[in-house]
Amino acid sequence: MIKCGVVIFPGSNCDHDAYHVSKHVMDFETVFLWHKDEDLKGCDFIIIPGGFSYGDYLRCGAIASFSPIMKSIKKFAMDGGIVIGICNGFQILLESSLLPGALIKNKNLKFICKFVDIRVEKQDTPFTNSCTKKVLRIPIAHHDGCYYLEQSELDELEKNGQVLFRYSTPDGEITEEANPNGSLNNIAGITNREGNVLGMMPHPERASELILGSFDGKMIFNSVYNFLKKKGNN
């Protein structure tokens, strides 16, 4: 059985949502991981959930990146462990340098909560191998989601195929109007170079049950399941 760990920082608020999907929708063995601990409890897969860790004070995700649990997660990631950072979790991964770049304020300077469409850029990854659709409908809910990286590094990121999701129209077109927050190249989610760490602004855990209007997000968790199963982890 696959074991998933959901990290709780002070101010995390999508922790229960991630736990719910992992445990009740995906049927993974699921545990919470406390930020002050270093023990990852033998998890195969870590979710850093959304929310406002430390109130988003200083910079989103900054203070959380200093926590004991992040030390262990860094090590886990270096060893090829699967990590997903969602929204604030993405910000934490950036502040921890597990992923390149930064997220700054949305171009309209407001919090935005709504469903958006994101295009899947690559199918052969631990996070997208079971995406049966090219464009996923998943909500965003953030104030600081505008992805930024210096041009040369951005080119590198693109060249390496590290961009996994882009804001698009429902038909998969990449347009300015489809970009809710001003992210460079419409970037909604990226992986590290090795491809085992994903950071994304949209919330797949909010779109994993039909009753919530979309279950496209579940394809991402399904992909992780397939990947880990093939790896022989169960």
Partner: protein, 81 residues
């Protein structure tokens, strides 16, 4: 001892808040303001027993490691009193 640490976006980064304020000023008739950038200022109070050098040393560390994000920001400081 009291010191201030200033954190600003790097010049190459578009500063959406600064731009919005610039626009507001313009619409209010302040046409002589050519550019606005918004940054953060941290006012830090240190133990009095520290020397100026010690304070600067600490600031250099926390300025880089904690108070700014080198991917997008740069920092600067001054010891005030």
């Amino acid at each position: 001892m009291i010191a201030r640490v200033y954190v600003n976006f790097k010049k190459t980064i578009l500063d959406p808040q600064g731009r919005t304020i610039k626009k507001t000023l313009e619409s209010l008739g302040y046409k002589d303001v050519l550019d606005v950038r918004q940054g953060k200022v941290f006012t830090l109070k240190f133990k009095d027993s520290l020397s100026r050098e010690q304070v600067e040393e600490i600031i250099k560390k926390i300025g880089r490691d904690v108070l700014s994000n080198p991917v997008i920001e740069e920092f600067d400081y001054e010891v005030v009193e």
